[in-house]
């Protein structure tokens, strides 16, 4: 069996009303062979966590363009913990100033892909992360 079929939730949190970026990323991940649960606009942190659990995703990819990542991400990470779902890794993409990257990583965000990152990098990172995680969780 091809153990690909990585399931990733692509969500945008925050109130800015467009999501071309998220949809382009979703399409690119699909072309890389992943199953992308695309959640559209108007997501709250609660919704994202609920969806991630129901969809049993391997990883969550958050797109943030509003600049509010330092406010929104702690809420999401908290919500994951509250729901016993903080074993699901989270990555962030979008408009993120370099200086904020360590701050996000300190919240346990696994990796940050600021605007201008290559999709292939993200794909490689996701594959590696998911394979490691599957090895540890499915063995148990």
């Amino acid at each position: 069996m091809r153990d690909e079929n990585i399931r990733i939730l692509v969500a945008k949190i925050g109130l800015d009303g467009h999501d071309r970026g998220g949809l382009i990323i979703a399409q690119a991940l699909k072309n890389a062979g992943m199953e992308v649960i695309y959640t559209g606009l108007k997501n709250t942190s609660e919704n994202v966590v609920e969806m991630a659990i129901q969809e049993d995703v391997d990883i969550i990819g958050i797109s943030i363009l509003s600049g509010a990542h330092l406010v929104l991400m702690p809420i999401l990470m908290d919500e994951l913990k509250k729901n016993n779902a903080d074993d699901i890794p989270v990555i962030v993409g979008g408009v993120i100033p370099p200086g904020d990257i360590p701050k996000l990583k300190a919240m346990n965000v696994r990796e940050v892909f600021p605007a201008g990152s290559q999709v292939v990098e993200a794909v490689a990172f996701i594959r590696r992360l998911v394979q490691e995680r599957r090895k540890s969780t499915r063995a148990s």
């Binding site: 069996m1 091809r2 690909e4 079929n5 399931r7 979703a26 399409q27 991940l29 699909k30 072309n31 890389a32 062979g33 992943m34 199953e35 992308v36 649960i37 695309y38 959640t39 559209g40 606009l41 108007k42 997501n43 709250t44 609660e46 919704n47 609920e50 969806m51 659990i53 129901q54 969809e55 049993d56 016993n84 779902a85």
Partner: protein, 329 residues
């Protein structure tokens, strides 16, 4: 609590994980399904099919909301095609179902069709069983109607909704004959756009030509206009769905539907397992290997080969029957 009890209690995490295992065709899941199976059969399975973009997901969301008002618990399976090239899939249905978020009595799961080209994978049926056992009163299954998908959903679901929109009259002609026959409820969605009445008229004309449905089934599919923008028709559709299930039960069709579904499911599993087992045998048994090679070398034609195997099965059955007769005496 073991996994089985957790699912029975509606534990979201356990339901989600078991569905993933079912999707991977994980061998240990077969054990779980065997345990679950006797506890299925309480849910009303509803298929929602139709061409891309007619508003199926929006409609599923609205309908689920309506059923929640009636205090029914709801499971939703949204199936989208996998790319035959990359194997990936963009599962965007639940983006249209945001209004259902936060309701613990609604479970939504997106499924990629994976290997099942056009049709529904075996995982969809198993996932429906899992939601059934978890106590969902209604399970709504959204599939894109392209060819095989419609036939499969008709086998799986008790009630099938065919969703169209204004301007889809031609599409209906182009669709496989018999599509009208599988629909228990016909919906012209996007009735807020112009041309909805024409579409309804067209549908009822086509329906008129169809004549009676197979067997004793006298159900005439209602044609309902709807709009997910202003809520038109949603109450009517929900009512028709429940009415159809009552009809199916009263007429004694429920049992037949369930039996047909399970027979098909068994045949799918059986043929798959026969294939797998045979391929395994070929690898380890030199005699069988030689026998198969005869087919390749044109010494034995594949029809006769298949008949030989079926003959073996038949003989085994006869022997079993004889030995049972003898023990009874």
């Amino acid at each position: 609590m073991n996994l089985f009890e957790k699912i029975k209690a509606g534990d979201i995490c356990s339901i989600a994980r078991l569905i993933s295992k079912v999707e991977r065709r994980d061998p240990e899941v077969i054990k779980a399904i065997k345990e679950i199976y006797p506890h299925c059969g309480n849910a009303h399975l509803i298929g929602i099919t139709g061409p891309p973009g007619v508003g199926k997901s929006c409609l599923v969301s609205e309908l689920a909301g309506k059923f929640r008002e009636k205090n029914r618990t709801v499971g939703i399976l949204a199936v989208d095609p996998s790319s035959p090239f990359s194997g990936g899939a963009l599962l965007g249905d639940r983006a249209r179902m945001i209004e259902l978020a936060g309701d613990k009595d609604v479970f939504i799961r997106s499924l990629a069709s994976r290997g099942a080209s056009g049709g529904l994978s075996a995982a969809v049926s198993d996932a429906a069983d899992i939601l059934d056992m978890s106590g969902k009163d209604l399970v709504l299954i959204e599939t894109v109607g392209v060819g095989q998908g419609e036939v499969d959903i008709a086998r799986l679901a008790h009630t099938v909704l065919l969703v169209l929109m204004p301007g889809y009259g031609d599409a209906l002609q182009a669709m496989k004959a018999g599509i009208m026959e599988i629909a228990d409820i016909l919906i012209v969605n996007k009735a807020d756009l112009s041309g909805a009445d024409e579409a309804v008229a067209e549908l009822s004309t086509v329906q008129g030509f169809q004549g009676m449905r197979e067997g004793q089934d006298k159900w005439v599919a209602p044609i309902i206009k709807s709009s997910t923008l202003d809520g038109e028709g949603i109450e009517d559709i929900a009512g028709a769905v429940l009415k159809h299930f009552e009809y199916v039960k009263e007429q004694g069709f429920l049992r037949k539907k369930n039996r047909d579904r399970r027979t098909n499911q068994f045949l799918d599993i059986f043929t798959q397992q026969i294939r797998d087992e045979f391929m395994r045998l070929v690898k380890v048994d030199a005699g069988i290997q030689r026998w198969v090679d005869k087919i390749g070398d044109l010494e034995l034609d594949p029809y006769s080969a298949s008949e030989q195997v079926i003959e073996l099965l038949r003989n085994a059955r006869e022997q079993e029957r004889d030995s049972r007769k003898r023990t009874r005496k």
